[in-house]
């Protein structure tokens, strides 16, 4: 796939615009899903995805092949989503977020938590997280990116990415334990 992707990018750079259709086909679901889970609105997600692909096409000459093409494309998508969130007056700040401690866990509660982790629950919990946390989780686990690659996508230091990932997991765990009836 990497070979094909490189070839498609090369053809685009040589002026063959039709080659971009291949890139679009390969990435449209991934980029749209990422945008949808951050923006929580199908129309806004399509607009952000479209903007990301158009910007990627027009800025293809600035792509550095030393990095993964997916990282570069996700960086553009991340920027488009952040712009959309700001345009919708939705905060992307972390200032107001509190980080409660994990509750005490009994064996019974832990078993309940394990049973309650389903795709639907996880999807709902991701939607309830602030976008800056849900996106690190999505990039790390859904897109299988390492913290250095996520740092490239977000344009943030790697330490920040690791801290966000840790806090995002903690928030998910708190929600899971709360639902399972754990006491704080």
């Amino acid at each position: 796939m990497a070979e094909t992707e490189t070839e498609l990018v090369r053809r685009c750079l040589e002026g063959d615009n039709s080659a971009f259709a291949g890139i679009l086909e390969a990435y449209q679901d991934r980029i749209y899903s990422f945008a949808l889970r951050l923006l929580k609105d199908p129309v806004a997600a399509e607009e952000a995805s479209q903007e990301a692909f158009v910007k990627a096409f027009r800025g293809l000459s600035s792509y550095n092949s030393a990095y993964h093409f997916s990282s570069w494309l996700f960086r553009i998508a991340h920027n488009a989503c952040m712009d959309a969130l700001r345009a919708g007056n939705k905060t992307v700040s972390l200032d107001t977020e509190d980080f409660p401690d994990l509750p005490d866990r009994s064996a019974g509660v832990e078993a309940k938590v394990e049973d309650s982790i389903t795709s639907e629950r996880i999807e709902a919990m991701l939607a309830a997280l602030p976008p800056l946390y849900s996106e690190v989780l999505l990039l790390a686990y859904k897109e299988n990116m390492g913290s250095s690659e996520i740092a490239l996508v977000l344009g943030a230091p790697e330490g920040t990415v690791k801290a966000r990932l840790f806090r995002a997991r903690e928030l998910m765990k708190v929600k899971l334990y709360r639902e399972a009836g754990a006491t704080f």
């Binding site: 971009f20 259709a21 899903s33 479209q50 910007k55 027009r58 064996a107």
Partner: protein
């Protein structure tokens, strides 16, 4: 269940989330927008140069105006602190401005005559002035309608 186990479960649950598909025609819309093409680089360049030229003219005008005010600051202040001095200061400024304008008009007329003498085909100064006004209006209109391309990557 250990916290690490919970982390693993969260990770695998997120990894198992399905990808969503955009609505039908999404690819076609993107490809159509790409085919429509980006604004040409030369077009943006011309707008930029025109904008800079206009800015330079406005700056020069502001500088000349400020210079007149600064040169007469002492006299204006002296007039302004007297009873009824404010209106006198305004009158004074208007007189100075009128004098400057007449000098500018004389200078422009002189330059026009010189240029006319140098090249008979050059239009009259008021025609050039009119053309400048029309061009400025066109540039302003184009600048408002043109959306700058920002990559931001």
């Amino acid at each position: 269940m250990k916290p690490d186990k919970t982390n693993e479960l969260i990770a695998s649950a997120i990894a198992a989330l399905p990808y969503r598909r955009p609505s039908a025609g999404f690819s076609a819309r993107v490809m159509a927008e790409l085919a429509a093409g980006a604004p040409q680089a030369w077009y943006a360049g011309i707008l930029k140069i025109a904008g800079l030229t206009l800015t330079a003219w406005v700056s020069a005008l502001a500088f000349v105006s400020a210079r007149v005010a600064y040169a007469n600051l002492g006299e204006i202040a002296a007039l302004a602190i007297q009873p009824g001095g404010f209106s006198r200061a305004l009158t004074f400024m208007a007189a100075r401005s009128a004098l400057l304008l007449s000098k500018l008009a004389a200078a422009a007329s002189f330059a026009s005559e010189m240029l006319s003498a140098a090249s008979a085909w050059l239009p009259a100064w008021y025609e050039i002035g009119f053309a400048v006004l029309v061009c400025s209006a066109a540039i302003a209109a184009l600048s408002k309608s043109a959306r700058p391309v920002r990559q931001g990557i």
